[in-house]
C-alpha cells in the first residue's frame, strides 16, 4: 500500500497579512512558510499507519505544486518521516490548476490524503477535484482512518455525531481535525536523514486556470469601543438605532 499526502505551503498562521499595491496578490516578503496544518496532521496519521501496519504501508510520499522556495516545506515533511517528496515546478494558481498538475503524478497510490482546508486562501477543492480527475472515490470530513483486513475504516464527522464507513481503495480522503492528535515534531535524526531522501522535481503540464483572481480586500478596521455609563442606558438605544442602525 502506498500513501500520497498533498502538501500545501502556506504562511505561518501568525503572519500579518499584506497585499501588493493593486491588491491583486499577497505580499510574501518576510513571511515564514509552513506545512498547511491540516496536511501536517494528515502526514502525521500516515506515519502512524506506516509504523503500526506491520509492513502493509510500503511508502508515504508527499507532493506539492510550488516553486523551489517551497522545498523547505517538503524537506520538513521528509524530516517528519515521508519517504519521498515530489515538487511540481509551478505557481499554485488555483484549485483546478493545482489538481490538474497533481493528477499527473498521483496515479498508483492506494490512499491519497488532502487537508480539508488551506490555511492561506481557505481553499478546499483540490482533493475532490483530484479524485474526479483520477476517477477515484473520495470521502470528505474524515476524522479517523484505520486499516483493517486490507480495507480502510474511516470515521466521518456528521451533524450531531459521527459515521464509520468501510471503503475499498484507491481513495482520496479529505481529512480534518482529529485525524491525528497533534502534528508530529521532526526529530533531529529525522532532519539529518531528510538530507539524503529523494526530492523529485517534475515539470508542469499546460492547464488553464478555472478562475481568475480579481482583487483582495482587507476587512474593515475595528472601530473604537464606546463605553456607556451604567445609568445612561438610553444612550445605548440611541447608538444602536440611530448610529449603528441595527435596531
Amino acid at each position: 500500500m502506498k500513501i500520497l499526502i498533498l502538501i500545501g505551503n502556506v504562511p505561518d498562521t501568525t503572519t500579518k497579512v499584506k497585499f501588493n499595491a493593486d491588491r491583486t496578490a499577497f505580499d510574501a516578503s518576510g513571511v515564514q512558510w509552513i506545512i498547511n496544518p491540516w496536511d501536517e496532521l494528515a502526514l502525521t496519521r500516515a506515519m502512524e499507519l506506516k509504523e503500526t501496519s506491520g509492513g502493509a504501508v510500503e511508502a508515504v510520499v508527499v507532493a506539492n505544486v510550488g516553486r523551489a522556495e517551497t522545498e523547505a516545506t517538503l524537506r520538513k515533511a521528509l524530516a517528519i518521516g515521508a519517504d519521498k517528496a515530489i515538487r511540481i515546478d509551478a505557481d499554485p494558481k488555483e484549485a483546478g490548476y493545482v489538481a490538474s498538475q497533481l493528477a499527473t503524478i498521483a496515479a498508483g497510490y492506494d490512499l491519497i490524503m488532502a487537508g480539508i482546508e488551506a490555511a492561506d486562501y481557505n481553499g478546499n477543492a483540490v482533493g475532490g477535484m483530484l479524485a474526479e480527475m483520477l476517477g477515484m472515490n473520495s470521502v470528505s470530513a474524515v476524522s479517523g482512518i484505520q486499516i483493517e483486513n486490507g480495507q480502510l475504516k474511516i470515521n466521518r464527522e456528521i451533524d450531531g455525531g459521527s459515521q464509520v464507513v468501510g471503503l475499498p481503495m484507491p481513495l482520496v480522503a479529505i481529512v480534518q481535525k482529529g485525524i491525528a492528535k497533534e502534528p508530529r515534531i521532526p526529530a533531529m535524526r529525522g532532519i539529518m536523514m531528510a538530507r539524503s531522501k529523494p526530492l523529485e522535481v517534475v515539470q508542469p503540464i499546460d492547464a488553464a486556470p478555472m478562475t481568475n483572481m480579481v482583487t483582495f480586500e482587507m476587512p474593515p478596521a475595528k472601530a473604537a469601543c464606546k463605553m456607556i455609563a451604567e445609568d445612561q442606558a438610553k444612550d445605548l438605544i440611541h447608538l444602536l438605532r440611530d448610529e449603528a442602525k441595527v435596531l
Partner: protein
C-alpha cells in the same frame, strides 16, 4: 492579553537568511516542542523547584542530547549552528531545561566522545543520547571555583582500580545522574577525567536546596569517600586542565546561543503587553520611555544574534578560539539579563507575577552569568588575549 499568545521571534536584521533550511527546521522543531511541552508547565515546576523529569526521554527521542555527536554513537550528526539554535529555543522555555541539555551534551557526551576509549563511547553515548542515562560533570569544588587547577579531589592508583576521594559542588543533574564525568588529580598532580557511576560504594550526591535561580533544574554535590573506580573508567585521551576547559568551551558556546532565547521571550512578551496595555487613553507602547526599552532590547538581541551566528560559522569551520567563545558568552548573557530586567519594568506590577516569564528568566540568568566561567573571569580572558597578561592568577 495572555502570556501564551503565539510567539513571534524577533529578526530585525533578517538573520534567518544566514541559516540553512535544515537549521531552520531544527529550530522550528525545538520551538514547537518548547511551546507544546515546556511553556505550559514551567512556571509551576519553577515554583515547586522541580525539574520536569518526565520530559527527559522525550528530549532524547527528539535528539536534543548530543546533536553534533556522530550518528554511530547515537547523535544526529548536525552542525554547531543547529546545536546553538536548539539551545536558543530550549532557553526560551527555561534556562534550567537548557542547562540540563547543555550538561548532557557538552559536559558529558562531548568529553566521552572526544577523550574516551572506543569502549566508553559505545557503552555510554547511545544511552545518553536517548535520555535512558543522565549525566553530570564534576569540576567545581567547595573551595575552588574560578581556580579549578587548585582542586583537591584526588585519586590513587591501587593496582587494579583507582581510589577516589573529594567533593564537587554546584553540579547540575547531580542527584539524578547515572554517570558523572569527574575531574580529579592523580598522584603526580595531573588532572584526569574519570567516569563515576551511580551506585559505586562511597559515591553520594546530595541536593542543594534554597536556590532562587534555576529552580526547575536539579543542582547538588558529588561526594567521593574512598570510591573504587575501575581503571577502564578513566578517559584515556586527555591530561591536564585542557580536558575540562574544552568541555566548558563547548557548553559556553551553547550558552552564548541559549540566552538569546531567554531575551527573545522577554522581549516578545513585553512588546505584546505594551501594545495592549492602555494608560492615559493610549497603549503604553506609545510612550517614549517604553519605546526606548523595547528598541534597545531589539538592538541588543540583534547584535547577540549576529555574534552567535558568526561564532557558529567559526566553530563549524574549526577556527573558533576559547577567547571568542568567552566574549560571546559574556556579552550575550549580560544583554539577556539586562533585557529581562528592562522588559519586566515594561509590565509594571504584572511583570513580577508568574503570568509572565521575565522574573523567572531574570533569576535564572543570575546563575547563567555566574556558571561556566563567571562574568568577571570572562572579561579577564579577553584581557589576557589582548595583553598576554593573565590577570586572574
Amino acid at each position: 492579553m495572555s502570556a501564551s499568545a503565539a510567539y513571534i521571534a524577533p529578526d530585525h536584521f533578517l538573520v534567518d537568511e544566514l541559516f540553512s533550511e535544515e537549521q531552520k527546521i531544527v529550530r522550528g522543531s525545538i520551538r514547537d516542542w518548547v511551546t507544546r511541552k515546556v511553556k505550559p508547565v514551567i512556571e509551576d515546576h519553577y515554583e515547586r523547584a522541580k525539574f520536569p523529569d518526565y520530559l527527559i526521554r522525550e528530549m532524547g527521542e527528539l535528539g536534543i542530547f548530543g546533536p553534533f555527536i556522530p550518528v554511530e554513537y547515537g547523535g544526529s550528526g548536525l552542525d554547531y549552528i543547529s546545536y546553538g539554535l536548539i539551545m536558543q529555543e530550549l532557553e526560551r522555555g527555561d534556562s534550567g531545561v537548557r542547562s540540563m541539555a547543555s550538561v548532557q551534551t557538552s559536559l558529558v557526551m562531548y568529553p566521552i566522545h572526544a577523550f574516551g576509549s572506543e569502549e566508553q563511547r559505545r557503552k555510554y553515548l547511545p544511552k545518553l543520547a536517548t535520555g535512558e542515562m543522565i549525566g553530570c560533570f564534576g569540576l567545581t569544588e567547595p573551595n575552588h571555583g574560578s581556580d579549578p587547577g587548585s582542586m583537591v579531589t584526588r585519586f590513587k592508583d591501587m593496582g587494579d582500580h583507582y581510589l577516589l576521594n573529594g567533593a564537587k559542588m554546584w553540579i547540575t543533574n547531580s542527584t539524578v545522574a547515572d554517570v558523572a564525568v569527574v575531574w580529579a588529580k592523580d598522584e603526580q598532580n595531573v588532572v584526569r577525567g574519570l567516569i563515576v557511576e551511580k551506585g559505586m560504594p562511597g559515591f553520594t550526591a546530595p541536593e542543594t536546596h534554597g536556590k532562587w535561580s534555576l529552580r526547575a533544574s536539579v543542582t547538588g554535590e558529588l561526594v567521593f569517600d574512598n570510591v573504587k573506580v575501575p581503571k577502564e573508567n578513566m578517559l584515556p585521551n586527555v591530561k591536564g586542565l585542557k580536558g575540562p576547559l574544552s568541555c566548558l568551551n563547548s557548553a559556553r558556546y551553547g550558552i552564548a546561543w541559549g540566552v538569546i532565547g531567554a531575551a527573545m521571550d522577554c522581549y516578545d512578551s513585553a512588546l505584546r503587553y505594551a501594545l495592549e496595555r492602555q494608560q492615559f487613553g493610549k497603549p503604553i507602547a506609545a510612550f517614549q520611555l517604553q519605546q526606548k526599552k523595547l528598541a534597545e532590547a531589539l538592538t541588543e538581541i540583534t547584535k547577540a544574534q549576529l555574534l552567535a551566528w558568526r561564532l557558529g560559522v567559526l566553530k563549524n569551520e574549526g577556527k573558533v578560539t576559547a577567547a571568542q567563545i568567552s566574549m560571546a558568552k559574556r556579552n550575550n548573557v549580560e544583554i539577556a539579563l539586562d533585557i529581562a530586567r528592562n522588559m519586566r519594568q515594561v509590565l509594571g506590577a504584572m511583570g513580577i507575577t508568574n503570568d509572565f516569564p521575565m522574573m523567572r528568566h531574570m533569576m535564572n540568568l543570575e546563575s547563567v552569568i555566574t556558571y561556566e566561567g563567571t562574568h568577571d573571569v570572562h572579561l579577564l580572558i579577553t584581557g589576557n588575549e589582548l595583553t598576554g597578561i593573565p590577570a586572574f592568577k
